[in-house]
């Protein structure tokens, strides 16, 4: 018979268990630590990739201040010194809008990864109205019609996968993913049709979003209002309650007489409509459209929604965080003279790995072999 302490070596090295609950402060501590680790790792990667940084290691300071400078630094243009901040807020707002649009679907466990396409198609709808009616009718009417068309187009794009999911259980993740590309090529096709000799970018003279004090505020206010409305909708409305029940268990929903099909279709209509609304904001902001106008924000928004655990209020913070990272990473590649288009992706990707991975330490407890043994000895 062998002595217990020798056998301890044969026990699993690491043993996991699910946490029954964790103090919110501790959870946020873990998340901040992950963010810090991610930033340090990014610094190391930058060191490897940038010759400029290697030759002058002091530049590393610039690396870390870049995140602040990119979003909150003072611009050089005297007339608009806060441009960077407004810009940051505006694009956070747009990202937030898409994430909020996804939220009801995700709460229902309907994995809509088609926000990219739904937003683009909304933008296309708005652009179509602008193309055919721009300059021919009053600007205010044009904007209203653009909004209407965008919301309608987004709703159609969102509800198609929902109809098939409701009727035949067609896998929505893959369906919505494919719809993104259909939307992209449909946009490319129409742009070419409208402007056969063009470069693929269709610009408009009309259909500009009205300024509210400045050009940024309207979008920001819309997004915050949307976040509040979404929070109330999910927490206090009957629809929100039904969404939660369906998401948790379709059988429970049927059992209490909720029509699962109806809820799936209704929720995806809403999700698509909100994406369409965001598409309208893009159209009115850019006053042009290309097949890449959304630029992957529909995918980034999925990450934002997930990071916020589908809570609309937390989402405001997460959208800002992701944008802060993106803008900072862009600034870094400028400062450190590394590949401009690529570096932001690498930095954002790496930091996301850390934030995504850290959820593990929030949900699970890790026990190491050594500790159990000590406890055993203490008992003796």
């Amino acid at each position: 018979m062998s002595h217990p302490s020798q056998n301890a070596e044969r026990e699993p090295l690491i043993h996991l268990s699910k946490r029954s609950g964790i103090h919110p402060a501790k959870a946020w501590g873990i998340r901040l630590a992950a963010l810090a680790l991610g930033l340090i790792t990014c610094g190391l990667i930058a060191f490897l990739l940038s010759e400029k940084l290697r030759s002058d290691p002091k530049l590393i300071e610039k690396f870390y201040t870049a995140f602040y400078r990119a979003s909150f630094g003072r611009g050089k243009i005297a007339s608009d010194p806060y441009r960077k901040t407004w810009d940051f807020l505006q694009y956070s707002a747009l990202l937030l809008c898409i994430a909020l649009a996804l939220t009801p679907a995700f709460r229902m466990r309907f994995w809509n990864i088609g926000a990219e396409g739904q937003t683009l198609i909304g933008m296309l709808g708005a652009s179509a109205v602008n193309f055919y009616l721009g300059g021919k009718i009053p600007e205010w009417l044009l904007l209203i019609l653009m909004l209407f068309a965008a919301v309608l187009a987004g709703a159609v794009w969102g509800v198609i996968p929902a109809l098939f999911k409701a009727r035949w259980g067609t896998n929505e993740t893959l369906f919505t993913l494919m719809m993104n590309y259909v939307a992209m090529f449909l946009t490319a096709y129409l742009i070419k049709k409208w402007q056969p000799m063009g470069s693929g970018t269709l610009a408009f003279a009309n259909g500009k979003l009205p300024a509210l004090i400045n050009n940024y505020l309207l979008i920001i206010l819309v997004s915050v209002a949307l976040a509040a409305a979404m929070f109330v909708y999910l927490r206090y409305s009957k629809h929100g309650y039904e969404i939660n029940v369906v998401g948790e268990s379709e059988r429970t929903a049927q059992y209490v007489g909720i029509s699962v099909k109806k809820v799936i279709i209704r929720t995806m209509l809403l999700s698509g409509m909100l994406c369409g609304l965001t598409g309208f904001l893009f159209a009115g902001l850019n006053q042009n459209i290309t097949r890449d106008s959304i630029g992957g924000r529909g995918f980034t928004a999925i990450i934002v929604a997930w990071l916020a655990k589908f809570n609309p209020l937390v989402m405001i913070l997460m959208a800002a965080l992701v944008l802060l990272l993106q803008k900072g990473a862009g600034q870094i590649s400028q400062d450190l003279n590394v590949q401009k288009t690529a570096m932001p992706d690498v930095i954002v990707g790496v930091i996301l790995f850390f934030i995504i991975g850290c959820e593990f330490f929030i949900n699970y407890q890790v026990h190491f072999r050594g500790r159990g043994q000590k406890r055993e000895e203490a008992v003796k």
Binding site: L16, W111, N171, T173, F360
Partner: protein, 313 residues
């Protein structure tokens, strides 16, 4: 050779990119992991392979060895990128969709950093492996010459994967892991090991797809920009192929066919985007038809997208 034959061969050659990508994704999905990072992984594989070819391409090594080293590098880069995904989703049990999307962002950026940032302006690294293996009977400029060793490697990998999945114990175990990990675990199968192996090997194979496209099929240094969209198509193809690598060969050819249809029938450039849309529309149709027919054998692996934790109660 006739124009049509040229076109057909081109479809086959182009389709090989998808064979790599979708076979890799099938292996991953069979282990229960929906890897939306495949586009990023294909980018990394392509970048890694091309980079090595660039480093050794003008050396005195025999061409065969250069190609082999490039291929191995692509495999390794793909597998290593897959390892990031594996660690996050298998060990840390992170959400698969979100991790995959983040990986795609990362992979795309990293590819550009490697290929663009390291100033690969000349084509020195683009030694087309195919140019060392000529068909004796075809003319020098025949499109048949497009089909080279890497094309056949794709076919071999797909057929081999099908055989392993359906005819061997390892395949049986892997399918069990993807269908019902708790059962596989209780049967004494190393679930984590299988998941890691399938995901990393699958990613390595997908990485080859990126390498094949840049170096062999296209053979120019702008080609890498297309890879992300080819990656998404590869994921689509998995559905089209009903999770069977052999069917992925057929599907890949069809996709290749659809993709370059516009160049064959000489339609106006205006309708070209509609042609490019076709593969996605066809995939959606397949998805709908299989869900309506609802045959159990044609459904995605049951535990696809779900993390496994043994002590879940």
């Amino acid at each position: 050779m006739s124009g049509f034959m040229n076109y057909l061969v081109d479809s086959l050659a182009f389709g090989a990119t998808f064979i790599y990508g979708s076979t890799g994704e099938i292996l991953t999905e069979k282990a229960g992991h929906l890897n939306l990072g495949i586009p990023g992984i294909m980018c990394m594989g392509g970048a890694g392979g091309a980079w090595i070819m660039y480093l050794i391409g003008s050396s005195a090594l025999p061409p065969f060895l250069i190609v082999l080293l490039g291929t191995l590098a692509a495999l390794l880069f793909g597998a290593l990128t897959g390892a990031i995904y594996s660690f996050l989703t298998i060990t840390l049990r992170a959400n698969q969709n979100v991790t995959g999307l983040a990986l795609t962002i990362f992979g795309e950026g990293m590819m550009k950093v490697i290929l663009d940032g390291s100033k690969l302006t000349n084509k020195a690294y683009l030694v087309q492996p195919v140019s060392y293996f000529h068909w004796p009977f075809a003319g020098r400029n025949d499109s048949l010459q497009l089909i080279g060793p890497l094309f056949f490697l794709a076919i071999i990998i797909a057929v081999l994967s099908s055989w392993v999945l359906m005819r061997t114990k390892v395949g049986l175990h892997l399918r069990a892991v993807g269908e019902n990990p708790a059962t596989a675990d209780a049967a004494g199968i190393n679930v984590t090991g299988y998941k890691y192996a399938a995901t990393c090997i699958g990613s390595g194979i997908a990485g080859l797809g990126g390498f094949y496209y840049i170096v062999d099929y296209m053979g120019n240094n702008e080609a890498y920009l297309d890879i992300p969209s080819l990656g998404w198509l590869s994921i689509a193809l998995v559905i089209f192929a009903l999770w069977r690598p052999v069917l992925a060969i057929v599907g890949s050819t069809v996709f290749g066919f659809l993709f370059s249809l516009s160049s064959l029938i000489k339609i106006s450039t205006a309708t070209q985007p509609l042609m490019q849309m076709l593969p996605y529309v066809v995939t959606i149709l397949v998805l709908i038809v299989t869900s309506i027919r609802n045959k159990r054998e044609n459904q995605p692996p049951s535990s696809l997208g779900l993390s496994y934790f043994r002590e879940d109660r």
